[in-house]
């Protein structure tokens, strides 16, 4: 191991993940596992328990979770797996390992205040339906919040 486990993760492993008794309720109820058999949250928890956190963190697998939180609900030990995944993703993102699609959403948000693109066609459809026109939002506030919370992509964009 090259790096010590980050404190937040160490706490989660100690307080939550160590209670996992490998029953597999998570993988049995997981939608991603139905579509992608290599995706196995039980095995991820096993690796975390055995100290292989860097392998889990750098694996593409953590980005396949749909965040449906079914494992969070069905786990008999209250491990809260989907929230562990979120923690792992946050740590991976800090290390520059987030997939492009996720970062695109962040860029879009900084530029427009929304994660969906506003088109002229939609404004016209809205008018036809009698819906109010969409007004631009104050993106300066969003950018400031991103900076104030140390959001990596925002800080990097600042550096140019």
């Amino acid at each position: 191991m090259t790096e010590e486990m980050p404190e937040g993760l160490r706490e989660l492993v100690k307080e939550k993940v160590l209670f996992c008794y490998q029953c597999g309720s998570c993988v049995g109820s997981c939608p991603t596992a139905r579509a992608i058999p290599e995706y196995n949250p039980r095995k991820m928890m096993e690796k975390l328990i055995l100290g292989g956190w860097e392998e889990v963190l750098s694996s593409k697998l953590i980005w396949l979770c749909t965040l449906c939180h079914t494992c969070y609900e069905v786990c008999p030990q209250g491990v809260g797996i989907s929230h562990i995944i979120i923690e792992l993703r946050n740590l991976a993102a800090e290390r520059g390992m987030a997939p492009a699609g996720f970062l695109e959403s962040a860029k879009q948000m900084a530029a427009t205040g929304w994660t969906t693109t506003l088109t002229g066609a939609i404004q016209r459809t809205r008018a036809e339906l009698g819906l109010p026109e969409i007004k631009a939002t104050d993106t300066e506030e969003i950018k400031k919040l991103m900076k104030a919370t140390g959001f990596r992509p925002a800080l990097e964009a600042e550096k140019g």
Binding site: P31, T32, R34, A35, I36, K60, W63, L64, T66, L67, C68, H69, T70, Y72, E73, V74, G80, S82, H83, I86, E87, R89, N90, A93, A98, P99, G101, F102, S105, A106, M109, G113, W114, T115, T116, T117, T119, I122, T125, R126, E128, L129, G130, L131, P132, I134, T137, D138, T139, E141, I142, K144, L145, M146, A148, T149, G150, F151, R152, P153
Partner: protein
């Protein structure tokens, strides 16, 4: 009744017919919807929560501040926004340290989270209106229509924070479907996720989940699906032709937003609702209801 109205991004910018139906249904029930000046994306439960929980919470909190300034509870139409905004609201109300931390960031944009409002979803607002009142407005019951209720994940999970209905066996949407005169059809894997959260990373496998779900709905003999969340709507309504083109099954399952069902039952026309904007044909449903598209 009056709410700070938060339609989200996906509904107003991509699926405006959902916003249209929600506004029309709530308008008919005398629920006033107040625009939220300068609201942004909720904070996004998939991309942003994954990249930085801290930024996610701060962006959500900013939106909550706008509703607080209006002195109104917030109604969001999107289940993703519901998870984001309710999680932020519950956590910031309950965790003093987190609140101080987030308020430091909010101070930079001249705002402060005070914890004075609640976050509601569409069904909660309809519950508050009350089934009795809604019943008096049903003039065209959706008789003989078999509907598969798809709750979507972020309406009910994580349940310790959202505390709306049962996280694995919810019943609220089924009850509201029956209220329109339609029948809520039981089917397998009712709580299976639509797969939207997988789309950014593996679109093909995300569609596999759509195909599976539509298969279960079809097998149960439902006439259509009812959804609440715009991400589920995109997954189910917009992808059926793609699934066929890519050599999968040939699903032809109409997908309705619950508010659209309610509007139809209240006697509104498919035309004024903009139902033509759906990508999977609703014709079988409209025909069964004796309506012209």
């Amino acid at each position: 009744m009056s709410y700070a109205f938060f339609p989200g991004c996906m509904i107003p910018l991509r699926l405006p017919y959902m916003e249209n139906a929600a506004r029309k249904a709530l308008g008919a029930l005398e629920v006033e919807l107040l625009e939220m000046p300068n609201a942004s994306c909720c904070g996004d439960p998939i991309a942003f929560q994954s990249l930085s929980k801290e930024t996610w919470t701060a962006v959500a909190a900013r939106n909550l501040c706008i509703a607080e300034e209006m002195g109104r509870d917030l109604l969001t139409l999107c289940s993703g926004c519901y998870e984001t905004l309710k999680t932020a609201n519950v956590k910031l109300k309950g965790d003093q340290r987190l609140r101080e931390h987030v308020n430091k960031a909010l101070a930079e944009v001249g705002r402060e989270f005070k914890g004075t409002i609640e976050v509601r979803n569409l069904l909660e607002v309809l519950q508050e209106v009350g089934a009795d009142k809604i019943k008096t407005r049903i003039v065209k019951p959706l008789k003989d229509l078999g509907v598969a209720a798809h709750y979507g994940c972020h309406l009910v999970r994580p349940s310790d924070v959202l505390s709306f209905d049962d996280p694995m066996k919810p019943t609220t949407l089924d009850q509201f479907i029956e209220l329109t005169g339609a029948e809520s059809v039981s089917y397998l894997k009712k709580m299976l996720c639509c797969g939207a959260g997988l789309r950014m990373v593996d679109a093909e496998k995300s569609l596999k989940l759509v195909e599976m779900k539509l298969g279960y709905v079809e097998a149960a003999g439902a006439d259509c699906m009812a959804v609440l969340c715009p991400y589920c709507m995109v997954q189910y309504d917009l992808t059926q032709r793609t699934i066929k083109r890519e050599g999968g099954a040939n699903p032809q399952m109409p997908v309705l937003y619950y508010a659209e069902m309610l509007c139809l039952a209240m006697g509104m026309s498919p035309k004024e609702l903009g139902l033509r904007l759906h990508r999977t044909s609703l014709e079988p449903v409209l025909k069964k209801l004796g309506l012209n598209a």
